[in-house]
């Protein structure tokens, strides 16, 4: 399986848990990027988060010793913007963070009565009333998309509910399907590949979360590498072949070996 690394010309990296965790830069971040630059292997970064602007991630990568263009960083907010543009959609309603609202309402018309599309993102201050109001806006013609399907994220003192809980409630009460833009849906991957003009057979996803990064790569039909940085693998990994690396250092060594 590691032989496949020989033909890789493009890597999509997850951010949190791969390049940093909270405010801690992880092992090998500068080494892998320096190596990819030398070898002319292209790369980008793809996070399921819709709560921060792209420049925040650029700054975070600088603390890992890496300087990248904002064009190489994909958040679900950026991919949602692309979805709206590509599908020629306007009259939108956003249930999510202020950042997601500000970014989208800046370019698209806010419609809080009969929107063409409802966009779900995560925000701790969303109330049950906000969710009820959103359900009441949705009729048979309303599209619904969500930033990401994660249900829980670990935080300092336990867990926090994530966007997946909104998807569950909205799907149950509207009996409509919510389309997910972030990992593991193929939409984000396909968009990124088309922007970089890359084939699936030359692309590798590197992440630390099975349910989003590795399953996402499977759904998008690209190669997958799992960074063993603390996350557990689920019991059933669905017989899906993926590579495993202790760190970005090992990833670099394995690519070097394959290309020898």
């Amino acid at each position: 399986m590691y032989d496949a690394l020989k033909n890789i010309t493009f890597i999509i990296f997850d951010l949190d848990g791969v390049f940093y965790r909270e405010n801690q830069s992880l092992e090998g971040t500068k080494e892998i990027i320096d190596y990819l630059n030398e070898e002319n292997i292209e790369y980008c970064f793809f996070t399921n988060n819709s709560n921060y602007k792209i420049h925040r991630y650029k700054e975070k990568l600088l603390t890992c010793g890496i300087e990248v263009s904002e064009k190489n960083i994909f958040t679900t907010t950026k991919l949602i913007e692309h979805y709206l543009f590509e599908n020629n959609l306007d009259n939108i309603y956003v249930l999510g963070s202020k950042q997601l609202q500000d970014t989208l309402y800046d370019k698209y018309t806010q419609n809080s009565i009969n929107p063409n599309i409802v966009i779900l993102g995560m925000e701790n201050n969303i109330t049950l009333k906000d969710i009820s109001n959103t359900i009441n806006l949705i009729d048979k013609d309303t599209q619904i998309i969500a930033a990401n399907p994660d249900k829980l994220i670990p935080v300092k003192d336990g867990f926090e509910l994530e966007c997946g809980v909104l998807i569950d409630i909205i799907e149950e009460y509207t009996k409509k399907m919510v389309q997910v833009i972030g990992k593991p849906s193929p939409y984000g991957f396909d968009t990124i590949l088309s922007k970089f003009d890359k084939q699936k057979s030359e692309t590798l996803m590197i992440g630390d979360t099975f349910e989003t990064d590795i399953l996402g790569a499977k759904n998008a039909n690209i190669y997958a590498g799992w960074i063993n940085s603390g996350n557990k693998l689920p019991y059933n990994t669905l017989d899906f072949d993926f590579m495993s690396f202790k760190s970005l250092i090992e990833l670099k060594e394995k690519i070097k070996e394959a290309k020898r």
Copy 2:
């Protein structure tokens, strides 16, 4: 089936949709109560709501021309108090309305770190963060009870999520069972019957909602009568025998007929 009315000595009435809807008194409220008083048939009122104090319901019934003692009115808040008392529980945490919190914290110790029991009620201002915090309080020894299992209630401009959505989320994320106190759980019915010293075979539940009132009567093994005041019956009523009445007037006539 209507023959059973002959032996009824106790009626449990739902409130909203049976005696009033919003601020509108419904047909036959005074007539039925006057008749039951004449015939020495006892009765009480049982609502799944945990947001108002008992005296609010007493006042509401006065606008229907009926004067009853607060002892004859059961809210889920009152039944939760009974549950805590009966099970000798203290150190409680309440996720619900200010009324539910005030009433319970007045008599029981609020414990926001490791409560013995977590109590769920509905409140529009509950945030995803509040729900996350509650999940983080629950460990293997924490009991969880909920005021009512309703998922949606109709409001002027559509629907509002109800306590059932909290139950769904908490059960999914804690993998623990939530015990429901309100209808259609038998707990409330059994408590009321024991307080009035009544047998199941002499008791009738009258309500307008199949999923709470009629199913609740089935679960508690008492007779059930459905008031056809606008709510739809579900397609599948589970082959459960229940009586049907156009209004409280018809209920009075049918009892009269059976007792003749």
